[in-house]
Structures are given as C-alpha cells and as structure tokens.
C-alpha cells in the first residue's frame, strides 16, 4: 500500500506538505500543490483513514445502525440517510446487527461503530434498549430515527405511531365495522408495531367496537397469529383485520386467499408502512409513513449535535404519515 511517505518522496517535499495539500490548509505554493497532486494521482494514493482518524481528534464519520435491510422501510431510510449525510459533507457507514435472538448482537454492532470512533450515531433499530446506549451518551451524539424513543437523554425523530394507529382505526370504524381483529406483536419483537397495534385496539374500543387482540411474541415468525385471525374471520366474529405492518397484512391476504376467504367480502384488511412496491396493485389499504421527513430531520439534528455538542435540548419529534385507501378495506359484511 502506498503511503504519504511515498507521495512525499515522489514529489520531493515533506510529509507535512503533502498533508497540507491534501487537507487544504492554506499557505501552500501553487507549484507545490501541483507536484503533490501529480504524485498522488500517479501513485494512486488513497489516504489511510485510520491514521487520519487517529491523528485529527475528530471524525466526520456517521454510523447508522439498521435492523433488517430486507425490510423495504429500512432500505428506504438507509438510502435517504445516505443522501442527507453526504449533503452535509459527512461520511456514512452502516452496520447491521446480526439478528439472532434478542438484542445481544445489536450491542456488538453498536460497539463496532463506537470502535470506529464515529462522530455521530443514528440508531434506527428498535430492539436495542436506550439503556444500552446510556454509557456512550457522553462520548458521542446519538439520534434515534424511526424508532420509538422515550429516553430523556436521547434525541428522537420518529413516527407518530399512536396517531397512526388511531388514523387507521378511524377508517375501519367509519367503514362500519363493529368487530375487528388486531394483530399486536410483543414490544420486544418490534416496539413500533407493538405501539401501532395497541393504539389501533385502544381507539377501536374508544369508539365502542368489539376488539379481538391477537398478541404474538414470536420473533422472526410473522405468520404467528395469522391462523387465529383466519378463524375469527371464518366464524364471522371479525369483519375486519388490522395489521401493524404491510408485510403481515400481505401474509394474511395470502392465507385468506388460500383459505377461500374473500377480501373485503368476508374480511377487510389494513396494513401499515406503505413502502413496499406494487402495494397499490394489491389494493392494500395502508398508511404511508413519512420516511423522507424522518431521515432528513434526523440528520439535521445529528449534524447540529456534532458541530455543537450538548448545545441542543433533547427533543422527541414525531412525524405523521398519510392514509392510503385501498380495495381491501370495504364496508362491514
């Protein structure tokens, strides 16, 4: 690997000068600049970021902790964060916690980012606990994006899951349904989906509806609970089924087709997220979460924290999405 030393020798200057040219520190003769750049180009020199990071005591590296890259909502977030970060002149690196049981491995991913001495950290994975982040709050600015965050010392930019649940519940109630099944994953499986599900149930009950709460605590098994809801639909004990994610709604739709149930004839269905491509063709009634706003605002907050540590008061901002109508939500049977 070619080092700065090699460039210096080739350009007949000192390492200090090469460094100044590359960093862009002003007092350098134009002729020298050119000599150095030529040597850099000819040798194909790429500065060692480790040495740079060690030497300057600051970092423009931003770490992003994403949960499951195969979830389209995370993919979109990742992509948007990437754009936002680079428009702020920062660099993004991403780590994915290996998703086995629980949060153990998320911690490993966290330590990896911290080891790289990122200048700021974006946490979008829901399962890692705020208390796990606590020990590092003094050394690096942390912003939660798109995940439920209540910690008094961690900035949060996320979705208004309570309102989302209420919005969807209203639509279902307004369609005339009186008896509704709601799938509610355990909080440790997905905090966001848990929150959504609970909110749906609470608001339906608030409007006097009959609610079947179908709780699941199977991690990585989205099919859990689907069979129960199929039964409720078959027996006519529920005329609508609400899911806390489009993914789960799709699984139900598949199962319903397989079981010969008509949607929305026998059972209406709603999802939540609105990110998966082609949902409109499926006709799923859902809610589009405002990923764009959350990503943009999240970086904005992090950037401020990085340039002025401790300057900003901790806030938990929440953004609300929009209902997306679809043929899977019909009038009550």
């Amino acid at each position: 690997m070619v080092r700065m030393e090699d460039v210096a020798r080739a350009a007949n200057v000192s390492r200090a000068t090469v460094s100044r040219v590359l960093v862009g520190t002003p007092p350098v003769a134009e002729a020298t600049r050119e000599k150095v750049f030529r040597a850099v180009r000819e040798l194909g020199y790429v500065p060692n970021a480790m040495a740079q990071g060690l030497s300057k005591r600051s970092s423009d590296l931003v770490g992003l902790l994403v949960r499951d890259p195969r979830n389209p909502a995370y993919g979109l977030l990742h992509s948007l964060v990437q754009v936002a970060v680079s428009s702020h002149g920062l660099e993004l690196i991403t780590a994915v916690p290996h998703w086995k049981e629980g949060a153990e491995d998320e911690l490993a991913a966290l330590r990896r980012m911290l080891g790289l001495r990122v200048g700021g950290l974006l946490v979008s994975t829901g399962v890692i606990r705020a208390t796990d982040l606590e020990p590092f709050l003094d050394s690096v600015p942390v912003v939660s994006v798109g995940r439920v965050e209540d910690h008094p010392r961690i900035h949060g930019v996320s979705y208004n899951e309570d309102v989302h649940g209420a919005m969807l519940a209203d639509k279902v109630a307004s369609a005339g349904h009186r008896s509704v099944a709601v799938l509610i994953p355990a909080a440790w499986v997905s905090t966001a989906e848990n929150r959504r599900g609970l909110s749906m149930a609470v608001h339906l009950e608030g409007r006097g509806l009959d609610v079947h709460r179908v709780e699941t605590n199977a991690f990585g098994q989205p099919e859990a609970g689907i069979a129960r809801i199929l039964d409720l639909a078959r027996d006519g004990r529920a005329t609508a089924a609400m899911f806390p994610s489009d993914n789960k709604a799709l699984i139900f739709l598949r199962a319903a087709h397989g079981a010969g149930l008509a949607v929305p004839g026998d059972i209406s269905v709603t999802g939540c997220d609105g990110i998966i491509q082609g949902l409109d063709l499926v006709g799923l009634a859902t809610l589009r979460i405002p990923v764009e706003q959350v990503a943009a605002r999240g970086i904005e907050v992090l950037e401020r924290l990085m340039s002025d540590p401790g300057g900003t008061e901790v806030r938990h901002e929440k953004f609300t999405g929009e209902f997306v109508p679809g043929a899977t939500l019909g009038p009550a049977a």
Copy 2:
C-alpha cells in the same frame, strides 16, 4: 473517551498487558486477566478500532459497496452478506454511492472503503467499471457479487442473466405469443438489466418471434419506454411485454390498468427478480434470482482470498434462478 492507558492504570498493569488480555495472546496470569476485564467493564472501554487497525497491519473489515438500498434485491443481498460475513468472524461495513449522474460518486464510496483499509471488498453495484477497480487489485481482494463481471482479474459471483433472459423468453414463446415487446435499458443504466433484456430479445428472435426492442437510456426514470409499450399493446402489435425487472413490470401494470388494458387479456407481462414482497398477490410472472447462493458463495470466495492472497485462480461463477409462474402471463390473444 477512555483509552487503553486508563484501563491499564485502573488495573495496575501496563498497556501491553491490557492489550494481550484483550487480544487473547496466551501467556497471561488468570488473576491479571480478571483485573483487566473488571477495569474494562467498569470504565466502559471500547478499543479504538482506528488505532488497532493502524497497529496490526491486517484488517478483518469487509467492505460492501451497494448501489440502491431501496431496491429490495440489494436489501436482501445486504442482509445475507451481513450474516455470512459475521459467521466467518469478519466485520462488515457498507457504503452506498450517492446516486447522481453516472459513476463519479461510486468512486468516492470506493475510496472511502479503501481509505478504511478494508481487508476485502465486495462490489455489488453494477455501474462502477471494472477498470476503476484495477488500480486497487494488488492491495485488496475484490469480489463482484450479483453484478455482471467479465474482468480477467476480478472474481465474480453473479447471476446467469443470459440464461434468465432465455428462460423467460421460452415461457413467453411457449404461451403462444408471436409478437413481443422487450424493454431494454442501456448498459450504463443497469448492466444486469441490459443483459437480461438483450437475452430475452435474442432468444425470442431465435424462436422466430417478432420482437419490439424498446430501448431506454434514462437513468433513474424507470417509466421511460412504458408509454411506447402501451401503444404497442393498444395497437395489438404486441401481445406480451417483457421487463428486465419486477419494478419496471409493476410500473407497466399500473399504467396498463390506468389505460384500461386487461392483463393478460390484452397484454401478458413478465418481470424479473422475484424479491419484492407480495408479488404473488399481484400475480406477476417472474424469475426469482438466487440471491442466497450468490451471497454465500461470494463471501466464501472473498474469505479465501483474504486468508490466502493471490492463491485462488480468478473465476466467474454464475447462478441460475427459477421461473415463478403468475397470472400476468396468459395465452396469446
């Protein structure tokens, strides 16, 4: 930030000893080990990966260059690579080239990874040219995954796009279609999709069919060419339309519905990728690319190269996917 120095002081040993305990170099007294671990825990010490990287002259960092995280196929690859990498005891960091015009920015992402002195590089983005990678081939093992690769010095693990095109073409021809529109993006827009499209066209022609090649070179504008194909369908000059990705097929389906065309009544449709969730509910006939195999094999090859540089002969392996039947492919009108 707490340094090794602080740990050493707290444990009453030298930095060398702390390092030995943490790295796991054998000759250390059990009592000392415990003292050190206690100090590490109490101080919340996370080793500085930059300093480590600088000091040991090797790296277990693997870099992954992904193109567009919002593409579900990349998301799945990312996720699978993550699992494979960590099962090999390596660490993964991901960089996303900011996608503006052309490949300029992909180079920046590449340099970023190289700057971090990754021990190996996985390149999955199709637009970066093999010649751009050339200068670095001597310093770091590079494996192309899931992208078309012909370079004699770069290992490739990818999809058999030619066969994929042929498989889909065969299905369409067998359904009795005689006149087919094929969307073919320019190679610089997507090498893989270009290859697929060309292969479809060539194989349809080989079976004596009438092929309308609809070529597009609009980057980031998947709608390009859709209108032309709608016209062909409307005029009855094509009874089937083949798309090089599910994404584009979905866009067409949407447009066809909007235009009052029946699928497959007026026009049959096929896609390619098979990754998007809920495709079965849409009924899209497509081909599922073997992302799992490509990811697993890609890491395997990279890992071998990292542990035995220059030991392996360069190969270009290709994996073939499976046709996924769907209602959008019907008999010719």
